[in-house]
């Protein structure tokens, strides 16, 4: 077991890194804990250690930014614990993790939750088939593993990842069968004023779309996946028009395309397990991706000693995450008494100005990938919504008919959300289905977070020991 840090940072993406750098400038001992092998998070995921960059220009600006951030972290002197799966956080802030050397735990004075996001995929028939994967999964394959998700790929869903992934597949030598965007081209135009604040990203997005168009890739706006079916070694995918709320238009004709793989994603959902486990207050913010911790302007949660930043506190993108992480770090240092209020104000003022601009851009992007209630409403009864337990929408509706009042009661009655992913894949969809009856996401509630936060074997926690190693006190004399 390593020495207890003063502040433990959960997640080594841009937000966690920002917090670590800020804490280091204040002389606070910080430890950044992540399940990955190096810093960067999903957005700046590193290459595997045994890989060497070949043509770095082929790896793109995200790779270079990730390398820059990893250097900053290495130079900061902040502690790092990679390859650690955090599975429990106690009310005394004791953090338990499973690492390559076995179980570990730390008792920090404060925690910065910078857990990032998971991807939302709204269910459709066939979404559980091998060969169907998330846009974020494809991004990881392409950027970190330099592997195409398939030879001929259909790219569907919404948000900026759609065109980024399609472009990366083309660049890597793969074929993009079509791009189907739930949004209309007008949605991108609508976002334009906010996107102009970040010209570099705007140019990238615009050039992706233009390049795909020039290469003759069909771009289908206002279209969604109706169904995916296994066909030989590949897939047959039906697409159809949707309305502005994402609801399939029944009268619209379907278009069926063949592909090896279907890459599909409908936005990002903040990962709030740690925040909910510690009982900090969460609020529902559809434009930020879903449930988010309620934070003050200095990134403090409602629970003393718990701070949050980055997409895990509301999806606003990597630039905003890094800045919010730095503010969280400065605030943790202030609360530890290591800097005074004046220092905190001076250090955070320029960060706040930049954060306001980054958030404007992030909000416009997040709005393009917010959940579309009509899309959830359009899920057919026989479609599996909970992948782990194969629970269909009809089974969920039947339980709601019988009186299940919120998502947690529904979970007990149907096992929906009770499987190994612990509701991460179905939670957002099920929340909306329940909300259609209860009237609001607030009334539908959020899953109760419980340890272990990830499935893990009891043998891994117990370690290797013989029966003889268990200390048994001598029996008391009779």
């Amino acid at each position: 077991m390593t020495r207890d840090p003063e502040i433990l940072i959960l997640g080594a993406g841009p937000a966690g890194l920002g917090a670590a750098l800020a804490l280091a400038t204040c002389g606070v001992e910080a430890l950044i804990v992540d399940s990955g092998s190096a810093a960067g998070g999903q957005v700046y995921r590193p290459l595997p250690g045994a890989f060497e960059p070949g043509d770095a220009s082929g790896l793109g600006p995200d790779y270079r930014e990730g390398e820059r951030q990893r250097r900053l972290l290495a130079d900061s002197g902040a502690g790092t614990a990679f390859g650690r799966l955090v599975w429990s956080i106690g009310t005394d802030l004791r953090v338990d993790a499973l690492g390559p050397e076995g179980p570990e735990s730390w008792r920090p004075k404060g925690i910065v939750a910078a857990a990032g996001a998971t991807e939302r995929v709204v269910p459709f028939p066939g979404w559980t088939l091998p060969g169907v994967m998330g846009l974020a999964a494809a991004t990881i394959l392409l950027k970190s593993q330099c592997v195409l998700p398939g030879e001929r790929v259909l790219v569907a869903g919404c948000g900026p990842l759609l065109f980024a992934v399609a472009n990366a597949i083309r660049k890597g030598g793969g074929q993009v069968v079509a791009v189907a965007d739930l949004a209309g081209p007008g949605a991108w135009l609508h976002a334009l004023p906010a996107l102009l604040g970040q010209p570099r990203d705007l140019l990238r997005g615009a050039s992706w779309m233009a390049r795909l168009r020039a290469q003759g890739v069909p771009l289908l706006f206002r279209h969604g996946v109706r169904e995916a079916r296994a066909a030989g070694a590949g897939l047959e995918v039906s697409l159809g028009a949707v309305d502005a709320a994402g609801r399939p238009i029944p009268s619209a004709s379907e278009k069926t395309l063949e592909a090896d793989s279907l890459v599909v994603g409908h936005g990002l959902i903040p990962a709030t397990e740690a925040v909910r486990l510690l009982g900090a207050e969460v609020v529902f913010d559809a434009d930020a991706g879903g449930w988010v911790p309620r934070l003050d302007r200095d990134q403090r949660s409602s629970r003393a000693g718990l701070y949050a930043a980055g997409d895990g506190a509301g999806v606003r993108g990597a630039a905003a995450a890094f800045l919010a992480g730095r503010i969280a770090g400065m605030t943790a240092a202030l609360d530890l008494g290591r800097i005074d209020a004046g220092h905190h104000a001076r250090a955070t003022a320029p960060l706040r100005r930049r954060l306001a601009r980054a958030r404007r851009f992030g909000r416009a992007m997040a709005r393009l990938m917010a959940q579309r209630p009509g899309q959830v409403d359009g899920i057919a009864g026989d479609t599996v919504v909970c992948r782990c337990e194969d629970v269909t929408r009809a089974e969920v509706e039947a339980a709601l008919e019988r009186g299940a009042a919120d998502v947690n009661q529904l979970k007990s009655w149907t096992r929906c959300g009770m499987g190994p992913c612990q509701g991460r894949m179905c939670g957002d969809t099920v929340g909306q289905i329940v909300a259609a009856r209860t009237g609001s996401r607030e009334a539908a509630g959020a899953w109760t977070a419980r340890a272990p936060l990830r499935p893990l074997g009891v043998d891994a926690l117990a370690g290797d020991f013989d029966y003889a190693d268990i200390p048994l006190p001598a029996a008391a004399p009779l």
Partner: protein, 94 residues
């Protein structure tokens, strides 16, 4: 067509894994999920209730769909880096 993109990176040394007893070529350090996909091994397990095939879905250790056995222990293929001689069993229920 090979799914591994040429030129962007120099991969680690070539290694051989044993997947359900069959040899599979990969590169050291690669994610097991990526190596299996690149080899066309897409179905990795069956769902526990309906018994339908499942494969790599989230690539970030959240969905638990790519659960396999690596050297006898349950592991997520997307969270494991391959090494020479690694033994992988797919198709484990649950």
């Amino acid at each position: 067509m090979p799914l591994r993109i040429a030129n962007q990176v120099r991969r680690g040394p070539a290694v051989t894994l044993w997947v359900d007893g069959q040899a599979l070529d990969a590169f050291a350090g690669e994610s097991l999920a990526a190596a299996l996909l690149a080899a066309g091994r897409r179905a990795l397990r069956q769902s526990s209730r309906a018994g339908t095939p499942r494969g790599v879905f989230c690539m970030m250790g959240a969905c638990q769909e790519c659960l396999v056995r690596v050297d006898g222990k349950r592991a997520l293929a997307c969270q494991v880096a391959v090494c020479d001689g690694m033994r992988v069993e797919t198709g484990a229920a649950g």
